[in-house]
Every structure is written in structure tokens, then in C-alpha cells.
């Protein structure tokens, strides 16, 4: 399976409200232990629906390669 170029990334200011989990069309996001949103990189296609709905504006859509370098991203 070919992975998309873009992927969702969540910063550590996530409030774990679960809006992103609900809106994700592929079920790629789950709320980990009530602490933050966890993105499954293998499922995420970087559609941006989670970014649009996130009330805290802590989700960004970034290049998959770029994500590997960032430490703040919770995957």
C-alpha cells in the first residue's frame, strides 16, 4: 500500500476532546488514555478534516518526511 505524502501531526497542547477522532474518515485517530490524540501514520491520508475541526488548533498537516524529524508529534 502506498502511503500519502501528507500526514496529520498533533502538538503536545492537545486537550483530548475527541473531535478529530469523530471526524476522521479512516479511523486513523484515537484518544490515547485521555491525554492526547494519537494518529496512526499508516492509516492517515492527510485529508485535513481533523485539522479543520480541532477546536484547539493543534493539528497540522505536514509532509510525512518532515514528520519523521519532528519530536513534538505524537505517533
Amino acid at each position: 500500500m502506498r502511503l500519502s505524502k501528507k500526514v496529520a501531526a498533533v502538538s503536545n497542547e492537545c486537550v483530548a476532546c475527541g473531535s478529530c477522532e469523530k471526524v476522521c474518515p479512516l479511523g486513523a485517530i484515537s484518544i490515547f488514555r485521555g491525554l492526547y490524540a494519537l494518529v496512526d501514520r499508516n492509516k492517515c491520508i492527510g485529508c485535513g478534516k481533523c485539522q479543520k475541526i480541532c477546536p484547539a488548533s493543534v493539528i497540522s498537516i505536514i509532509d510525512r518526511e518532515e514528520q519523521n524529524e519532528k519530536k513534538e508529534i505524537l505517533v
Partner: protein
């Protein structure tokens, strides 16, 4: 792909109804305790924010008004509003006001103070609400209802304002219950 709907997806009806019922009989305000006790129990027992994620009718109501009815500007929330300082500061303020409300109830219970049939919006503006206390109950029960309804109405009002200004569920960012349950989860999984 549309997600299958479950019973808990309709809890926004209960939240809307709660605010409306308070106009007719203030004693319905006691039902709001469910929104305080259940999230705490869930976070303490299961270590999750399942209440916020699934069962919060208020969040659903804001989502519905903001997205479906397009009442939200859908702008990004200012960074200070999601900062830990603000979130925990607001929680502390909220708790102080909550205990003040409990103190008022106690004073009415012990006969030091008389029942005040007012609902206080934003902890400042006193709205006359004398028509809503229709059932003959001990005055401290009514006092708690007036105080609790003030808390619920104030938080709904703040939620509506931030829903319009920012994103539909902006209230969830600084909701004291959300902050508290996340804090409980953090403590539970620490170490």
C-alpha cells in the same frame, strides 16, 4: 463515508432541554450534577476522557450549532486560550466559584441567609428568576438549584460566545471538567 449514529450522538438534545427546563422549574438544575459526576467517575475508573469524546451533550450542541447551522466563524483559537496557565487558572477560578455556591447553599440551610431567587450570569449579572421556583421544597434545595443553574448557564453562554468567535467546540479547550479529567488521566498514568 458517514459514521454510524449511536444513542449518545443525540445527547445534545438533553443539553438543550436542560437549559430550557430551567426556565420553567429551577429544580431541574439538579440534573446538571450528572455532567459533573459522570466525567469524574469515568476518568477515575477507566482513565479516559470518554465523557468528552462521546457523551458530552454540550460539545455536541456547539458542534451542531457551529457546523450544521454555520453559526461559527471557524477561526483559530488564540494560543493563550489553550495554554496550560489559562486552562488550569480557569479551572481554579471555576472551583472557587463553585465552592462559593456551596457555601451560599449552606448559609441558607443553616438559616443565616434567605433564599435568593436569582440566576447569576458570568458571576456578576443577577437575573430575576422568581417564576421558576414552583415546587415547595426546602429553601436550601432551591438555593443550590439557582446556584448550579447559574454555573451551567454561564458556561453555556461562554461556550456559545467562543463557538461564534472561534471553532464550534472551542469551549472544550478550556472547559473546567475537560481540564480536570485530563489532569486525572495524567496523574493516573504518571510514572
Amino acid at each position: 463515508m458517514r459514521r454510524k449514529k449511536y444513542w449518545y450522538d443525540y445527547l445534545w438534545i438533553a443539553s438543550g432541554l436542560y437549559i430550557i427546563l430551567g426556565f420553567f422549574n429551577i429544580l431541574f438544575a439538579w440534573l446538571g450534577l450528572i455532567c459533573f459526576i459522570v466525567p469524574l467517575l469515568i476518568s477515575v475508573i477507566s482513565g479516559s476522557k470518554a465523557y468528552c469524546n462521546r457523551y458530552c451533550g454540550r460539545g455536541q450542541l456547539f458542534e451542531l450549532l457551529g457546523n450544521r447551522f454555520k453559526l461559527s466563524r471557524n477561526r483559530d483559537i488564540p494560543p493563550w486560550l489553550r495554554s496550560k496557565w489559562f486552562r488550569y487558572g480557569f479551572l481554579a477560578f471555576f472551583m472557587i466559584m463553585f465552592f462559593n455556591m456551596l457555601l451560599n447553599t449552606w448559609l441558607v440551610f443553616s438559616g443565616v441567609r434567605d433564599l435568593k431567587e436569582v440566576v447569576t450570569l458570568l458571576w456578576t449579572f443577577k437575573l430575576p428568576w422568581h417564576w421558576a421556583n414552583t415546587t415547595p421544597v426546602p429553601s436550601w434545595i432551591a438555593q443550590f438549584a439557582f446556584g448550579f443553574y447559574s454555573v451551567m448557564l454561564t458556561s453555556t453562554f461562554l461556550g456559545l460566545v467562543t463557538m461564534v468567535l472561534y471553532k464550534p467546540r472551542s469551549w472544550c479547550v478550556y472547559c473546567p471538567m475537560g481540564t480536570m479529567t485530563q489532569g486525572i488521566c495524567r496523574l493516573k498514568y504518571k510514572g
